[in-house]
Symmetry: C2
């Protein structure tokens, strides 16, 4: 029997990575995980969902997770590290269960040495395009949009760089990266679909 | 009439970017330019080909080309800057003439604000894969292979970063990047082909 395959998608804010992931999952008829991941992690660890949502993808401090994990007992771990661990476990459990698309949350890192097929994707787009999408698609006030684009990317990078041993958006970590402002959302979806089919996961 | 399209390919040494470009051009039935670019540039500028080949893609110094271009008269330009200019012109002339695949030589930069359709691709691969390809495909001595991989990439990055206003291998500059060690040469070719067809250049 073939192993499951997981498409992980990292994305710049406003690049359309989320909608690409959502529609890709639909096209491939496999589940899509984003906030859902958090919910599962929350339920399994016993934390309240509210706390998980508040702490989602915020940078966590100045010392490496690995250091913390080695020096703290389970109960003494700061809450955001517990959250990360819970998500890490949830990502692996989901990958065991079925093929799927996962957005953000260091999913590529959580599945790096795990027994599952992964295609690690990163979606980016030029700044102007992302600002316009933030205004039109997410309803951000025009005067705040550029600032929010930069700040959100900074948060995502901090989270990823802190918890993984990689650098967010660095070419070497991704099997395929796509510029959605140049190629368009539909072409991005189609190319990732083709990729899955060429690698013969399906 | 549709405009020409040019697929520019940047690539890490040993990643198979050249063979991907060559076979892609074959599949699309369009010309492929690599050393050929140099030959054309050499012929048009009147330099001997030998000089051009010796100086190909070596880093050029510590000051920006744009500065040099502003302060030197044409005849006083250092030879490597003349070579760059000749190639720059050749790339644009070729793009005017026909759709094609171009490897390296800052072709993406030369065509950035030019009236032609471009798909800018970057091919990378993990280090071990590139070392093994350098040994098997290029006949490099095993004990020298890793060093040559690193040095060649360093030279390519220096050349690109010096002459363009971009950073070699930085995700934002490419429409599509592919890990050939993960995806395989044939999948890379097929995905770029699909990309051309989805954007409807053909």
């Amino acid at each position: 029997m073939k192993k499951n395959f997981v498409i992980t998608i990292g994305r710049q804010y406003g690049s359309g990575g989320r909608i690409i992931g959502k529609n890709l999952a639909k096209a491939l008829q496999i589940p899509y995980y984003d906030k859902e991941l958090l919910t599962i992690a929350a339920k399994e660890s016993g934390f309240s969902e509210e706390i998980f949502n508040t702490m989602d993808e915020k940078p966590t401090g100045s010392f490496l997770y690995s250091l913390v994990a080695g020096t703290y007992g389970g109960n003494q771990l700061p809450l955001n590290h517990k959250l990360f661990l819970a998500q890490f476990e949830a990502i692996r459990k989901i990958a065991d269960k079925n093929s799927c698309v996962m957005i953000g949350r260091c999913a590529d890192y959580a599945l790096e040495d795990y027994d599952v097929n992964c295609i690690n994707v990163f979606i980016h787009a030029n700044l102007e395009h992302r600002i316009q999408r933030a205004i039109k698609e997410y309803g951000i006030a025009p005067e705040k949009a550029e600032d929010i684009v930069h700040k959100t990317d900074k948060q995502r990078a901090s989270y990823y760089n802190f918890y993984s041993d990689k650098k967010w958006g660095a070419i070497d970590h991704y099997d395929i990266t796509l510029d959605s402002s140049k190629l368009g959302i539909d072409t991005c979806i189609e190319l990732i679909k083709q990729c899955v089919s060429l690698i013969k996961y399906q």
